[in-house]
Symmetry: C2
Subunit: 311 residues, 2 copies
Amino acid sequence: MARSSQIRRIGDGNVLVVNQIVKEKVGILIGGGMAAEPLFLGYVGKNMADCAVIGNINAAPSPTLILEGTRAINQSKGVIYIFNNYTGDILCFDMAEELAEEEGIQTRSVRVWDDAGSAPIEEITNRRGITGAILVIKVAGGASNLVDNLEELYRITEEARDNTRSLIVVSRSGHYLENGEKMFDLPDGQIEIGVGLHGDPGFMKCEMMPVDEVVDIMMEKLLGELQCKRRDEIAILINSMGATSITELFLVNRRINQIASIKGIRIHNTDIGYFYTSQDMVGFSISALKLNGERKTFFDQPSNSFSYKRD
Amino acid sequence: MARSSQIRRIGDGNVLVVNQIVKEKVGILIGGGMAAEPLFLGYVGKNMADCAVIGNINAAPSPTLILEGTRAINQSKGVIYIFNNYTGDILCFDMAEELAEEEGIQTRSVRVWDDAGSAPIEEITNRRGITGAILVIKVAGGASNLVDNLEELYRITEEARDNTRSLIVVSRSGHYLENGEKMFDLPDGQIEIGVGLHGDPGFMKCEMMPVDEVVDIMMEKLLGELQCKRRDEIAILINSMGATSITELFLVNRRINQIASIKGIRIHNTDIGYFYTSQDMVGFSISALKLNGERKTFFDQPSNSFSYKRD
C-alpha cells in the first residue's frame, strides 16, 4: 500500500513484484520468513530485486509461492534466487527450483551465509545468512540490468556473497510478535557477539564494554576473514537490530572509520539504518562487502526500493 | 563520516552543510537539540535543507552556531530557519536572526507546531513541533530550488506548516542517553496519545487497545483539524519512535489507507520509517500534510538526504 506505484502483490500470499520489469533481463527473486523486516520485502525495486516472496513469521515461503513469483518475473532469461542460509529456506527454494525447471524456467540459487559468528570459516556453508544479504542483493540487482546471462549473473552474485561478512552484537533480546515474550535470555549488562536474530548462539558472551572495543572485535573478524589489506575498498552496512538508535550507530561508524584509516582501507560507501530487525531487540550489526572493479560498478547502480535507496 | 561526499561539518560545533550549494538560492537552515535523531541532521541534502545546526542533548543550538551555518549557506538571497517550537529553540533562533540581520543577512523563521496533542487548536502557537517538521522541510527544500525570493519561500513554508498535523502514541518511555534512565512513567499495558518525545503530556491516557482503534482516534483528529474532505490529497509520514518495528508500522498504514478510502481522501505519498526517535521508545507517530497544486509540486521534487530520499 505504501509503494503501490512501484510494487504490487500478486495472488493471495506475500509475493511482491515490481510494477515495471525491464524486458529481457535475468530476474532476481529474494525471500524468507517474516519478522526480520524490512528484510526481504524492503528490497524490491530498481536495481534491487524484482520479486520478494515472504513466508509466515519465522517460516520460509512455500515452494508454490516462490514458483508464483518466479513465473511473474521470468522473461526467458531465467531467475536467480537469493536467500539466507536456513534449513527451511533451503528446502523450499530447492523445491521451487525443481518446479520451475519442470516448467522450463532456468534458476540458480545463492544461499547467503555471511554471519561470521555462526560457525568457523571451515564450515562456512553452515553459517547463517543475516544483513549481508542486502549487500549481495544490491550487487546482484545492479548487475542484473547490465549482465544479460544467467550463468554470468550467478557467478557475480556468488562472488558478492563470498566477499561479504557480517556480525551481530546484542544486549537485549527481541520479542516474539505472536506473544510478546522474549526470544532468549541475556542477563542485564551482558552482551553477546556473533549472535543470530533469534538468539542463535554467537562466539562471545561477556560483560558490557565500550562500543569502540566491541567494534574493534567485530571489525577484526570481518576484515580478517575478507583478507582486507591496504588500499582495498569495502562497503559498510551498519544496522540497528530494532531498538538501538541512529545516534548510537553513528558511534559505531566513527570507530569503523578510525579502524579503516589506520589500516589504510578505503570505505567506498556507508549505509546506516534499520535494514534487518527483530522486534525491540537492542543491538546492531556490521556488514562488510569487499569490492573489486566489477562489484563496485554493480554496487553503484542507483537503486530505489522501500528500504534501500541510493542515487 | 557516512556522507562526506554530500555534506561536511564546519567549525567545531555540529554545523552540517551541503557540499554543493546551487548558486543564488534562498538557504534553508534547520536545527534543534540532539537525541531525536535523525532529526535534524538527516535532512540535509538535495531539495531538503542546506544546513542543519544541532545543539547538545535536548538543548537548542547556540545563536553563534546558527549564525555560522547562516553565513555558510547565505548567497545574498537570505536564509529561512525551520525549527520545532520549543522555548530554547525560539530564543536561540531569534537571537541568531538578530545577529544575521546585523551582518546584512536577511532571515525568516518558521516555527513548526504540528503536534495536535500538545495544546488546543486555539493555542496552536503553543503546540510542540514533532515529525511534521520533516514534511515542512521537504516542501521548503523543494521550493527553494524553484522559488527565488525570500518572502515567497517564507509564505510557502508557513503554509506547509499550517497544513501539517502530527500525533505521537507511546506505550513505553524512551531512555535518557546520559544515564539510561526512563524519561517518564507509563505503566505496563497503558498507552498515551498525543504525548511528546520526552513524555510531555498528551490528551488521552488509557489501556492498550487494538492498533486500528488507536489509528482511528489519531486520524480523526489529524484529518479533522486539516479539514480534509472528499478528493483532498495528503502526504502521510508514519514514524517509529525508536523501538517499534516496521512490521507494526505497516499495520498502521493499512488502517490509514482504509480510513482514507472510506473518506474519499487520496494519499499522494506515504513515508514509513525511523524519522524522529527517542532512545528505545515504543510507539509511533502519524503526520499528515494537506497538499494543494503548489505544495504537491514542491513536495515531489526528488530529494536525497541521509534520512529522506525520494526519486
